[in-house]
Structures are given as C-alpha cells and as structure tokens.
Symmetry: D2
Subunit: 418 residues, 4 copies
C-alpha cells in the first residue's frame, strides 16, 4: 500500500488548527524555561527507530497464536509495511532483518525498494533459537555454547552468513541473542558453556568488518528455564570486553529480573563505553513484549534521561542502535508499532526538557525533593505537540493512528495481499 | 508555625500570570473535549488526603535512621504540621492517629486545635507490631493470632481502647494492620492462627460503633518473613466477609507481591462492595514506602481510573478512606508529603479526564489500541493547572514546594521546637 | 510398548539386595521413632498421580519446539504411554484428557484399553486458549469472559461437550483453566469480564452431574500479559463460592506471583473447604512447567505437609485431584514424568514422617527452632526405600528410570510408531 | 558459660549407639558408591564457618525488635558465645568483627581469649550505614560515594581504622558492604557516584596489607530503595577488577533480585578468579536474613555443588571466606546459628557426594535427566551421620541443639549476665 503525500496533507488539514494552538502554547512555555524548541524538534525529526521484520505480523505465545489479516509474507512486503509506517510517522526509517527468513533473493532490488521508502538497514539478527527444516544439527541443547563442536561450527557459520547478508544490504551491526542455556540444575557446566560461547563469538568476531559492531544481548530466562548463558548485563559485559572494541551490549527492556533498575544498568554500560543499543518493549511480569510505554512509561523516561545525560549529544548522532522488539499478539501490529514509536519519542522529548544544570546542582546538594521536581516537571509536560510538529516538518501525519484508521490501511493491505 | 494568608497571597501573585496562561489553555482544550473543568476543579477542591501522624518525622530502616530537625514530638505539634501542609495545599485536611503514641491528654483542646486548622479525624490505627514499655505480654509471636489467650485479649483490649480514643476525637474508622505471622515453616499453624485472628477481630468488631468501619489490611511479608496471617486481598476479604457489613479491606500500595495487578484487586474489592480505603505510597522493590508517584505514576493513574469507574460518583463523596502511608527517610517529611498529595491529585485529575463512553465502546469492541489511546490521552495531559486552580480557589499556594521553601518553613519549625 | 512383568522382576532382582539393606535400615529407624512403616508404604502404594495426555509429547516455548521421537499421536497411543509409566512405577494410574484433541472415536474400546492398563479417568480439561480449525468464533479476546455473547455461548457449549466426553469414559471432574484476560490497561472492563465469566461458569455448572466437581484454576499472567480474569486464589475462591458445592479451586504450582507462599494458600483453601486439586510442576522464574521437585523440593514438601495436616486422613482417601502439568521441552517426556512422580511421592512420604504431635506442641509454644527441627528431620530423611518398597509390592520397578533406559523403552516406541 | 568436655561426652553417650548404626549404614552405602567416607569426614572436621559478632543478639526490623535475654554486650562476651557454639559443634571457629562496636580495649587479652576458645579472626567489617554519636559527618546521603569530599574522607579513614584493628587481632580481610545509594530517581548521578566509590575504595586499598583481601559486597536494595551503588555482581566485579589482585567479590545469599540464579553467579566469579567469600542466610521474599537452609536448602546445595566443582580442592583449603550473616528476630540467636551451621555443612557434605565424573559425562551428552538424577541422588542422601561423626572426632556434640537445650545454655547465660 502506497501512501499519497496528498492524503497526509489533507489529514493534517483537519488537525492543523488545534495543533498550532497546542504547539504555540507549549513553545512559548518551553522557551520561557530557556529551552530551544527548534533544536528539540529538529532532533525529533532526526531520531529514527528501527523496525524488526518479525514485528509486522501477529505474534503468539506457547498457548497459541491468533493471526490477523493482510500480514506480509515476503521480505519485500515487510519492507512495504515499514515504508507505510515511515510515511505516516517519519520516525521508522530503518529495518532490522532476521536471518534466515529475510534473505532477499534479489538484494539489489530490495536495496532500491528500501531507498525509495527512505529505509536504512539496521542491525542484522542471527537466529539459533529454533531449528530450520534443512538444518544438519539441532539447537535443542544450545548453539554457540553446545558441547558438540560441529553444532557450534554450524551456529558460527550461520552468524557469518548473516554478516554477509548484512554487508550486501548495507547493515553495520550484528545482534546475537542466544537462547542458549539449561532447563535443569546440573544439565550444563556453567563455566565450560560460557567459555565455549566466548570462543564461538570470537570466531564470528573475526569475520566482522572493521566498521561493524557486534551486539551481545542478555536475558535471564525463557526459553531456558534454569540458566541462560548470557543471563545479565554482567555476563554480557564480560563477553563484550573479552571480544574487543567492536563488541558492545544490547539492552532489551524485557530481559531483566523483576524490579531491576534498568536505567542504572544503562548508565553503567555507557560509563564502561560498552552500550550497544536497545530493544524497546514494555512488560508487567516477564518478557511480555508489549507495546513500548504501555505499562511503565516513567521507567522509559528515566532510561532516556540516562541516555541524554550519558551521550552528551543528540541521540541521533550517537552510534547506539534503537529498535523495537515487541510481540503484537492482540493488536494490529502496525498500530502497535505506531504507538510504540510515539511512546519512545515522547520519553525522549521529555528527557530533552530536563534542566540538567539544575539537576546537577540538586544532586551535588543531595536534594532528592528538588531532583524529583526537576525530573517530574519534564515528565509531566505534555510534549505531544513537539512530536506532531516534527512529523509535520517531515511530511508525516499529525495523528498517526487516526490517519492509519481513516485511510483504511489494514483493509487495503488485506485486499492487496489476499 | 502559622501560615499567614497574606504570605500565600503574595506567593501566588508571583505565579498567577503564568498560571492563568496555563489554566486558560488547558481549560479551553478540555472544554473542547466536552469536559466540565469547573466540575473537575470543584472535586479537586473537595478531595482530601489524610496524613498519618507518624509520617511527619523522618523514618528509618533496620539499618539506621538519619533524623531531621524541627520534627514534632507531641500530638499537638503533629497536628500543627498537618495544619501547615493544609494551609499550603488545602488538600491534607485530615489526620490519622497512631495509638498509643497519639493519645491526647486534653482531647477537647486537641479537637479545638484540629477544628481551627480545618483538620478532620480520619481512621485511628492500633499498633500491635511492637511492644510498649509498660506492656504485660509481648507481641513477639503475634497479637490477635497468638497461641496464648491472654496475649490475644491484651491485643483486643488495645484495639478497643483505640476505638475509644477515636470516639472522643470524632473518628469513624479503625484500621487494623497486623504484623502477625511467622518467620519459619512449621512455626505457626496456618489454619489455627487465621481462626484465632478472626475470633479476635470479632471481639473488636463487637465494640465498633454502628457508624464506624473496620479496615483489615493485608501484607505479604515484613516483618513476618515466612508467612503473614493476612497475606493478601483474598485473606483480607475472607475476614471482612466473615466480620460483617462494617468491615472492609484496606489496600496499601506497597503490600503486594512483585508485579501484582493492584488496580484489578481494587476493582474486585469494589465489585464485592468491600473496598475500605487506601494507604498510598510508592515502591520499586518491596514495601519501600517512597513518595507517592515517585516510581510508578502510571500505575497510580490506573488505580484511580478504576476508582472513578467503580465509584460512579465523585470520590470525595464515597466513604472510602484516603491516606498516605510513607516513610520519609531522606527527604524532609513535609516536602515529601506535599509531593505525595500532589501526585495523588494529579492521578485523580487525569482519571477524571478519561472519556468513559469512548472507553466502554472500545472495550465492547475489544479495541485494545483505542482503549490505550483513550487512557494515555488523559494520562499525558498536563493537569497541573487544574490542581493549581483548585488550590487558588481554596486559598492555598500555587506552588506548594516553592512556597514551603521560600517561607523557610523547616527553619521556622527548627527554631520553634529547639 | 508392553512391559512384561518378568522384565520388571529381573530388573528388580538386580537391585533387591541393596534395597533390602536400605529398607531394613530405614524401617527400623522409623519404627524406633514410633511410625508405622507398613501404613506409610500401603499409602504410597495407593496414592496415584494422574498424567495429562498433553504431557506425553515434547513441549515447546514461543521461540520454538524441538520434538523428540516415538511420541504418541492418537489418544490410544497416549493411553499406552501412561500404561507404560504405570507398569514401571505403579503410581500413574490415571489419565487427564484434553478436549478436543482426545475425543475418542470408539469410547468403549478406549475404556477397555484403560481398564486393562489399570488407568482411571481423572479430570477432563476444556480448552478455550486457542482456536480450532473448524471453530466459528475466535477466542482471541477471551472465551467465557468475552464481550460477545455468541463467543461465550460457544465456549460454554464446548465445556458442556467436554463434560459429555468425560461422562462416557467415567471421569468425575472438569477443570476450567481460562487464558482469558487482557494485554493492556483499559482493554477489558475488570468487573464486567469477571461477571460474564461467572455467568458462563454458571451455565456450565448447570450441566455438571451431581457427582462431579468443577475446578476453577487461577493464573496471574501468560498468555494474558496485563490481567487475567482469574488471576489468583482470591478470585478463584470467589468463583467457586458463587458457583456452589460442586465447585472448588485447583492449584497449579507455577501459577503464582514471585515468592508467593503456596502452602499457605493451600491451607486456606482447605480451611474454606474449597481445595479441588493440584497441577504439579516446578519453576524458577515463572510458569516454567519444569519437572516436579527439580528446583524447589522443600516447597513441595511444605505443601504436602499442609495437605497431610489439613486432610486428617490418607491423601489417597480424599477427593482432591492430583495431576502433573509440566512441559517437557528438553527431556524425554516419559523420563520427565517418572522423575516428577518420584518427587511427588518423596515429598508425600516425608510429610507422613512429620511428628505432628510434637509439631503441634512446638507451635503452641511458639518454638520456631523446634518446629524447624521437626520438619527438617522428616525432610532430611532419605525416604526413597519406602517408595521402592511400595513399587515392589505393586509389581513395579525398584529403579524406574534405570528400568526405562535399560529396557530401551524409547527406542521401542520409536520403532513401533515410525 | 564454659562447656565442660565431660558434659559433651555424657551427652554423646546417649546418642552414640544410634549414631553408630546410622553411620555404619551410610558409610557402607557411600563406600559402595566409591566414595572415601574418611576423606569427607576429615574435610567436615576442617571446614569452619565464621560467626559475625552481630549475629549473637536478637535482630529486628524497622517495625520493632523483641530482644531475648542473656545476650552479650561486650566483645568479650560475644567471643564467649562463639566459643560456646564452637564447643558444641566444632564448626564455628572464627569470628567476624564489626567496627566500631567491637573495638577491643585490650587487644592482647582478646587474642588470648580467642586462642583459648579455638577461634580465629575472620574478615573485619566496616560500617558506614549508620551514624555514630561522635561522628563529624553524616552518612545520610552516602559514605564512600558521597558528593562531599570530607564525608568520603571520613568513611575512608574509618575503613583504614578497621584494617588497623584487624591487623592487631590477626584478621586477613576487610569486607566493605555499602548502604550507599539513592531513594529516588534523579537524586544521585549514577556514573559519578560509582566513580567516587571506586576512588574511595582505591584509597582504602592502598592501606591494605599485602596478604589481605578486600571484599566488595553487592546488594540491589535496602536501605537504598531506588538504586544501590554496588547493586549486583556485575558492578561488584567491575570494582574488584579495577582495584586489583587483592580485591574480590563477596556473595550474600539474600542480596539478589527475585529468582536470580545465584549458583551461576558463583560459578562466573570463580571463573573470573574474583570470588571472595560468602554471607550465608536464607530468605523467601527479600533480604530476610533467615536461618541458612530454612527455606531453600536445594539452592544451597546447588551453590556448594558449584563451589566444590570450581575449587578443585577441599573448600577448607581455599582462601574463600565463609560467614553466616543472618538476623535472629524470633529464635534464640545461638540456636539459630547452630541450625545455620548444620545446614551449611549438610549442603557441603551432599555436594561432596556428587559423582563428578558421571555428571561431566551427562553434561557432555546433554542428558538433563541423568544430570538431575546424579545431583538429586546426592541431595536426597541423609548425610547427617557424616556431620555427627565429624563432630565426635572433633570432640563436639552429636546433637548440637539438644545439647544446647539440655545443658540449659541460655538459662546459664541469663544468670551469668544479669
């Protein structure tokens, strides 16, 4: 489905008056506080969030899956869906591929398609958490950590193949998430499986181009229910340090034990110069993979507060990776993604409002009351007009979800694809 | 310390122009959405949150306590502190007494003092979680649940005494939080200790005046580290049902296992007509007793969303109890309370903005995306001008924390009390 | 695969000498403590644990499934597998059917097969957590709680059909586990969805034969990631109470928030006369569905301690249901089940060793040290010889896992079925 | 109170016959399995667990404390209590001092007293989690991490003083547990507070004698309820690595987020050669500081399984530190400690029974069933006769708790000290 710029324009016509009122009020308020609204809006235009190819279809749980209609099947269709999102919100200008599913048959054509849609190629993702039909060895008992050398070799080669695919399309990073671990005490030798994993990663690392990054991603459990090899940021950092400069840690917001202080982990990784990027999602209980910002928006803000503080520059200028990793079980995946991107940018906008000089002063004085006032003043500000303004400047829709629904996007996709 | 109305007025002069701008913008936006701003502000004026007498001093942990200065010692001083808060925010017009510490020597004088400060007497709280110097039997192994009849009798009599104190000052409810439980498997017979607790509560219930309520409060752990007798809302509801119409369940936001869906529990208690009231606070890990809204403001909003939905009328018109129960370990307790009250009223104001008809429609259509849009639209709205307007109408300060600091309240208290 | 009694006998010949030594030592020790070993062994012979039909195949996670070989496809094959287990351990003499998958084409034949294998029909399980190919309405947004009456009707009728199947084979109970819930705040009206669920359950309850029980099963999350309709024992008990005498609560060990005191919940349900039965499994993080006793064997013992205490008679004489509900992702399902049954019976045997009079005395005296000594004395006792003795008496194998492996059971099943 | 060897002997006379029966049975069984019972018993004689001086009195919670009687006040009395324990169980031959409380007035005398009681001086513990009466600067907002240089300096000097005390008595390690952290988002700059902590630790490290170790101890929360500076093993390892060879990580079993896989963390620290030692306790919910082994004995076994595997030699020969850190709120502290030491040594004994060759083989074959059988065979073995035998050999009591009670130890202490 192709979005006509005119449709966006006519959608915006409906909301522009109200938007001007909102934006003017907010601008004048923020300028009074000494903030440069222009600079903030500019950064909101530049800041892009990658969409993984697997997030465009309805997800599921081990108990079942309730598919929606009009979902993309080929990688080209997935690119089209991201193009649709990007046309609507001008904030989703990157795709993260999942290999083997997304291997393009005609890479040149795909690159051209992406270029036309304004979409870049973000990190490529290897997959050793399930077996493929034609696979020689099974990953039932692990991949890079496996006791059997030939299984490890197969998994290493898969990762190298993923790099090759990435090189063709112009990706610059590889994300390695490992399902490897054990289901029961005693099943796996903790130290040996960690060593084997490191050795396998080193083999992959050797094949990493000089201008690439390798992201190690931790997760405490699921699908391994007793131990995961890379269970937390501590283990992930050990790996990244042992691998070298081109390795860094990726933080998935759902991959933590209950109550973990994620923003502190983010700060510590920045301090060690080993933050690689993010998999954004939200959760209440576990790795629920819900819409970003749907459960803990304040935590998201606090994470962006650390990012802004730690980066010392606009986030769009850093080399950190930004991606959504959610499972859209009961929402239309595209609507879910529009909501997620909106929540991420709201949190970022709020973090840009924080009065850092005043905060530093409060911190030096151990003034917890004042520090909270400063953070919550930013958080309580309704920043949505800033996002809308950025979208207008970028030729996108003032109200993404409304546009998507009014333009019958899903219905069109169903018609096109059935 | 007495707050002069003139000081408030001159404080407000400084902020009134900015406030008018903010309020006018917000009012016109909300009225456009079909909301009655007048009605909302009126309710924000009426809605009061009780302050427990123990929240006026610095709290502590088992590792130590770092007291502040100028803290109240006598109950009269505690009343004065609440009067100070109420003069500043016009939202803290009730006190919750803790017996035996707050037994007034001259009840009439105290009643008069409270009246002059505009403070009502909320629930009275019994205490059987620690021993008093002159106490015959120890509560080391429980109070209302104790295996020894004479200990139970002592605890019952204490609760009756608390009711008597409450009757004198004009309170209408008794909150029973029990530290009773066990530290180790086998220590306590689960069924017998529950039966004994119920029997003891029945004895207290007999002495409850007809127009009073008894609140049972659950907590999973601390100070009992293996089992608590009233460990969750299920047990609390069992007790309240077995006691009768004058018993209901009190929900402390920090008294739940990790990740509990508290708003659903609130809804269920309302449905069973057994919601009694709240102890507000916030937490990240456990019963941390932090400033309300400092960690999970969205959860607080979702709770108020259920309250507004379940009440079917203004919350100030219900007979539910509203109280802060926090421990101010590192903040000035009065500043902490000002922040807590503000956070509570922000959540309530946001909940009043929810378009309930649209929400009901979305729910009937299983439209999770739309339902989220509706809730988050309300939540993302910056409602602070509504609270400020309510405070102005009630003769209180536009910026409570700023007022408190500018007027050197803490310094004055230190001077007065040292 | 059919197990020849002679094979068992020759297996036992290998271990009998060592067993006699172990059993004699343990018997004399326990008799010295005043216990009747004969009575305990007798009860271990009688106590049977049901196997659900879905536990005979390799399970999976949302990330994939690594199937094993020789797994049963038809219900008849599933019965055969349970027959195999029962021949080996003489403790798995019941099957729990899952409808629609297990609807027998020739019920009479199936009944006869079960009879020959010594297998009874335990609770029948309805399924509304995933859609069947021929299904008219989808359960994507719930079943018994659905906003659409026709979906609820379909789910009710499915449950009635399940009862009908159960009546044919001789089952006496229906287990209703609901995946119903919501993924996001606002999506579902808590009160209305609970009411609709209750109404649906009442419709099913009407069709329940007089000598049947209906078990309501709670679960805090998964697959619903924001709220479940029957999220905890409090809600389950509300439903069971509102339904009537034939309704009771089923406890799945993995369906609790982190750190919940499950043994206390069990005690409370017994006290309210609403304990229905168990789904046994183990877990470290969430509803991991691991082998029973593989992570928290002491918790399992404490649960059995409450059961023995609360029952006041041998557990095999109660009407409580006993079933394993685990997902065997990386173990041979049959070996996993043998380990699970062993762990359950070990916990039960240990609980029978507890000196209840001494424990009661310690509890009355609040002697936590003594209470712990009493419980841990029982727990630390190596009771495996009691189980082995019971198996010998029942004609089963002294070492079930060894027998299963030595007899090449899996290999035989693979040969038979491929 | 002094324990007469004769009293122990006459106590043992009562139990020796039963013991011989138990020990002979177990010995012959274990020898049949190819184990050297002599070697195991020898190691159980050698393996000692240190007692911290603060564990000899009744602990408390923030809700109160219910003191017992006959508790030690002076350090000399505390030493006497440990001497009493050691006389009874011959396994508590070390004391861990808490400064400033335990600064001995006459160090020589104290050393002599300890020598006579057979007690060594384990790690010395600094304390900056509460203020002392004569202290210049407050630790309300941190110690080694404080924004104010003079506070940090004071805290550093305190730690140096602790080293000096340790040098006098013959201690060889310093444990630094920091309560430092923050209560609210924004209060503390994560990176700066970590840097300041590291700098302070470096200052202390400079004063550490060459043959000493410094242990950094992590904890996620309490008393800091939003963030702790050293929140997990990842941060602790960072510090230990940056400090140098004499720094290592101490693991307190209660200092982890819910469901953390502690045994894996232990393995990883061993692998990085940075395991320092342990603070043993048990818990169900949080840092409950309960009797070791009272809630999760299997987890304790799994930890010892990693220790035995990782050490490659008898644990008594390693330089890892072993200490109990529990709070005895409702038990007689000495009885609690006797139970804790027993539980630790049971777990260790079980871990020594594990057939490591068979386990390695099962691990290489990814045979989770077999691995579990191997571990649980060891765990299910009743090893108590091994501990009793070790105690007999060391001149201690067969039944420590019974001895303590029969000898009226607490009553004697009360009489002596009142």
């Amino acid at each position: 489905m192709h979005i006509d710029k005119k449709d966006i324009a006519s959608h915006n016509d409906k909301y522009i008056k109200q938007h001007h009122k909102n934006f003017e009020y907010l601008s004048s308020t923020l300028e009074d506080e000494g903030l440069s609204v222009k600079k903030i809006v500019k950064e909101l235009v530049d800041y892009q969030v990658a969409i993984p190819s697997w997030a465009l279809s309805t997800g599921g749980t081990r108990f079942g899956r309730f598919p929606g209609e009009g979902e993309p099947v080929t990688f080209e269709q997935k690119l089209d869906d991201i193009g649709l999102l990007h046309a609507i919100n001008a904030s989703s200008g990157a795709v993260s591929m999942h290999i083997p599913w997304d291997i393009p048959k005609e890479p040149k054509k795909v690159k051209k398609q992406a270029e036309e849609l304004g979409i870049k190629f973000d990190a490529v993702n290897s997959n050793t958490f399930q077996d493929q039909p034609d696979q020689k060895h099974s990953y039932k008992f692990g991949s890079l950590c496996h006791t059997d050398k030939s299984v490890r070799k197969q998994a290493v080669e898969h990762n190298i193949e993923v790099i090759e695919v990435g090189k063709i399309v112009g990706s610059k990073s590889l994300t390695v998430w490992l399902a490897d671990g054990s289901g029961f005490p005693g099943q796996q030798h903790f130290a040996k499986s960690f060593d084997r994993t490191l050795d396998s990663l080193k083999d992959i690392y050797k094949h990493l181009p000089d201008d690439w990054m390798m992201f190690t991603e931790h997760k405490p459990f699921e699908p391994a229910f007793y131990s995961s090899v890379v269970q937390d940021w501590g283990s992930s950092l050990l790996l990244a340090n042992k691998l070298g400069k081109k390795a860094a840690c990726l933080v998935d917001l759902g991959h933590h034990l209950p109550n973990a202080n994620i923003e502190q982990i983010v700060s510590r990784l920045i301090q060690e110069d080993k933050l690689g990027g993010f998999h954004f999602n939200d959760s209440k209980y576990s790795d629920d993979d819900l819409t970003v910002g749907s459960l803990r928006p304040y935590q998201l803000f606090l994470i962006f507060n650390e990012l802004v503080e730690g980066a010392g520059k606009d986030l769009s200028k850093t080399d950190w990776g930004w991606m959504i990793d959610a499972a859209h079980n009961i929402k239309d995946p595209l609507e879910d993604l529009l909501q997620s991107v909106e929540a991420i940018k709201i949190a970022y906008a709020q973090a840009m409002l924080v009065d850092r000089k005043a905060l530093e002063k409060a911190q030096e004085a151990n003034d917890a009351v004042r520090a909270q006032e400063i953070l919550q003043h930013a958080y309580r500000t309704d920043v949505r007009p800033l996002l809308a303004e950025a979208r207008i400047l970028a030729g996108a829709a003032i109200q993404p979800i409304s546009y998507y629904r009014d333009a019958n996007c899903r219905k069109n996709l169903i018609n096109e694809r059935k």
